[in-house]
């Protein structure tokens, strides 16, 4: 048992099966699909409400997804803590600015990597809210319910992702 906790990685099938059980727990215990992208709306909305309350009050989207510390909010810090525990237990926690694959292709400048990551993050969260879910909300929780919207969205996540990755690493890089 201890060997499992300290292992650097598990078979993706074993970890995946665990995530499948976890998705069922979320439906059973919280009556919610397991997903992350709504959490960022809650966190961003709380930050924005602290800075400019009037904009959040009037905004139609924030009325649908009210900024609050609730189940969806907690998923995001939960993931950070869970991944931290897993990485520390296996001795694989390392502070890294530039991933090796990026660095070997585009250089090890943290500034360039962070700028591209910000642009990627903006498109990622905009796209997730646009499609109504992310790789977990649509890709796992929606697909396991046989939802057409989720299966179509998940396919497009990969179609767009493959096209952009090929452009970045096979054409530009």
């Amino acid at each position: 048992m201890l060997a499992y906790l300290t292992a650097v990685s598990w078979s993706p099938y074993l970890a995946g099966a665990g995530i499948g059980i976890l998705a069922c727990c979320a439906f059973l215990l919280s009556d919610r699909p397991l997903g992350c992208s709504t959490g960022y709306v809650k966190i961003g909305g709380l930050v924005e409400r602290a800075l400019r309350p009037a904009i959040v009050e009037k905004n139609e989207y924030y009325r649908m997804i009210p900024p609050a510390i609730d189940w969806q909010f907690m998923i995001v810090p939960g993931i950070v803590i869970g991944a931290f525990l897993s990485a520390v237990l296996s001795g694989s926690f390392h502070l890294v600015w530039v991933p090796a694959l990026w660095g070997d292709t585009f250089g090890y400048s943290p500034a360039l990597r962070v700028v591209v990551a910000v642009i990627g993050g903006i498109l990622l969260e905009t796209g997730a809210r646009w499609a109504g879910g992310c790789t977990s909300g649509h890709g796992i929780s929606g697909t396991l319910q046989l939802s057409c919207a989720s299966i179509a969205a998940a396919a497009c996540f990969f179609i767009g992702g493959i096209a952009m990755a090929m452009l970045l690493f096979h054409i530009i890089g």
Binding site: G16, G20, N59, S92, L124, A152, M164
Partner: protein, 185 residues
């Protein structure tokens, strides 16, 4: 259904945290919080993400429909449309490759020390959330409902029973995974 538990706000905040911790732990252990693994999947050279996701979907599907039969869970399905599911999905894809993480794995990458995920990814995600809240009213009237899908679930679309579609989905997924292993991917 455990309605009492669902309505208990404090218990749900704690459950969100615990489910998040377990999720982050499993994401990190399956390696999908690594930039190399995500980009490897998008370059079709490393199929860890697809293996993990299909395994989660197969196990989750069998569990969900069993719990549904026992009336312990209810479906949470949104209606799809080309203007939301497909257009939004493609925008997501572009960000997926530029960032090299998805909304869940970017948080997991922060947990294992990826500073590009923290200062780049999470900053972008919060800006993206604020940006979407602003463009939502215009998108909602102009694009989101274009080309609505004729059905909400695969069994409805195929005019087949739930059981048959689940069985076919599981068989096709398992065959696909066996082929991946056979090809050494």
């Amino acid at each position: 259904m455990l309605t009492g538990l669902h309505r208990n706000r404090r218990a749900q905040i704690a459950l969100g945290l615990f489910i998040g911790i377990a999720f982050g732990f499993l994401l990190q252990k399956s390696n999908v919080t690594s930039y190399q693994v995500v980009i490897g999947q998008l370059l079709l050279s490393d199929f860890t993400i697809l293996k993990m996701m299909l395994s989660a979907v197969i196990v989750g599907m069998i569990g969900f429909f069993t719990l549904k039969r026992l009336r312990l869970v209810q479906p949470h399905i949104m209606s799809g449309a080309a203007g939301s599911s497909l257009a939004g999905g493609l925008v997501f894809g572009l960000g997926f490759a530029l960032l090299g993480y998805c909304p869940g794995t970017v948080a997991g990458a922060v947990g294992q020390g990826a500073l590009d995920a923290l200062f780049g990814g999470c900053t972008g995600m919060l800006i993206g959330a604020g940006l979407f809240a602003r463009i939502y009213p215009a998108l909602d009237t102009a694009i989101l409902h274009r080309g609505e899908f004729p059905a909400t679930t695969l069994p409805q679309l195929l005019h087949a029973s739930e059981r048959l579609v689940i069985l076919l989905f599981v068989i096709v997924s398992v065959l696909f995974l066996l082929l991946l292993e056979h090809w050494g991917l």
